[in-house]
Symmetry: C2
Amino acid sequence: MIDVHTHHVSREFPDMSALDASPRWPRMEMIDAARGQVMIAGRNFRTVDSRCWDPPTRLRDMDAAGVAVQAVSVMPELLTYWAAGEPAAAFAHHLNQGIAAIVAHAPDRFVGLGMVPLQDPERAARELERCMALDGIVGVEVGSHVGDRPLGDPAHAPFFAAAERLGAAILVHALHPLGDSMLVGPPILNNYVGFPLETGFSVASIITGGILEQFPRLRIGFCHGGGALMAVLPRLSHGWQIDESVRASLPRPPEEYARRLFFDTLVYDERTLRYLHSLVGPDQLMVGSDYPFIVMETPPGALLASSSLPDEDKQRIREVNARRFLYGPEAC
Amino acid sequence: MIDVHTHHVSREFPDMSALDASPRWPRMEMIDAARGQVMIAGRNFRTVDSRCWDPPTRLRDMDAAGVAVQAVSVMPELLTYWAAGEPAAAFAHHLNQGIAAIVAHAPDRFVGLGMVPLQDPERAARELERCMALDGIVGVEVGSHVGDRPLGDPAHAPFFAAAERLGAAILVHALHPLGDSMLVGPPILNNYVGFPLETGFSVASIITGGILEQFPRLRIGFCHGGGALMAVLPRLSHGWQIDESVRASLPRPPEEYARRLFFDTLVYDERTLRYLHSLVGPDQLMVGSDYPFIVMETPPGALLASSSLPDEDKQRIREVNARRFLYGPEAC
């Protein structure tokens, strides 16, 4: 089994103060040998543990859970799209080297998804080249939107062009969801309500922005089953059918694009998994666990395993599709 | 068959200039005897026709489509939550009288859902009383959020309390979705992408705001199948299970509340309808068509009719559930 959605946090972050004095650069404050607080802007963003940075710990968990390979990407909060391009690129390079070091520890068990400063698309394209040149890195993780820009914004074309040219996989993760003022209840609802809605906006922007039309060989995967895409797609498809202005901007039916994107199975409910499977088909789903964070699936792929999906599809979802996403169609 | 989701636009709007000089009050500019432009802030918001205001035209369409009863509510843009409470209440009363006049034309074929100035919750509670006193009106339509406030905001308690006390049905419709800056493509995507996501925020706020805990006899229905609720609910349920702060704010599992809300079947895809049915059960779905607007289902209930849902459920969805929503449990 390949788990495409697992996160990494460095045990030590670079000192960015020479390049940029912002208090938002993360700093690790260790609690003990195995636990630390990721301090961002003076507060503990998240308490993390050695599973985030220690390959032997991860390998033990993987062995216990039957995970052959983890794709490793940074904790999304570390994407630092708020910063200027230059320091963000330096920070990204440091973290990408950290991911490459994890992969180097067990190259047959880990594969890396780095990061780029997508707030500066030309620089992100250059940084992607540097990142893909690191051993063991096959793509990048990006946030669901970038500052004021939706992910499918035309401004990101230089990055997408580079990703297509370099054959880089792109894994999209929710980040700083819109609309937290529209939530009622504890702030953590941002995670349980905001994230899936945010991801819905993100996938929709990739589809309606024509990104797959412009860059047909791109491999883009969305965490958490693409969030609310499953609720948006039928209505968008209906709009495409009845509304000339939608067809004028998008040559193919939205579902055709959706069926070229990848989605992890981290949807928490078998009914949801089966519905998603019916929408995007058996070839676009992959196991993703969110290891080692709070909403993670334990063990990875548990919902898939217990579901009534055909065994043949389960096998594809456990391995083949992820291989295609990470390494490209020629890998299968 | 009862169609719970149909809209009304007055042939003439009241002159609001004495109470409030805003250019946002709508004005009808007739094109010919059967068509008019709804002018809002100096531009044509929508060209509408006599189906919006003429009972005989509606009855002809209903007869042709096998619709026994239409629940009639205003075009959501007319909810005017931007205005001060006093002029908004006067405007609402005028439109509510218009809806009552349509119902009076054929009281066995129409039922009214009025409107209240929810931006001023105490006034909305008083206006609801005046509205419910009109013959043929059994509830109100409300927008998915109210200015800066989510629908489930505690500030709306006076309105919800009055609705529970008066037995008023509440139909929720997407209005002015969040996040239009996150859409890429023609502005109409607001309708195809923004509306379902917006509705997801709205249902979530009703659930996590504990509105059904505080007012257990409320009957709240959501248009367009509750939008992205179907993608949010499994993750929210997961959060409720693993996260004490969510359980502390909400005594029952989120799905229990979802299964006490009502949803129309305007979801455009049989897979989506069956998935929604699996989430909320056969007793909470109702036919809604969005008559006579562009995304309407023609004929109403077509997707339901052609679906593989059990005949027994189809019959409940066509009539019994809507009756329970509109008139209360004692009506069945």
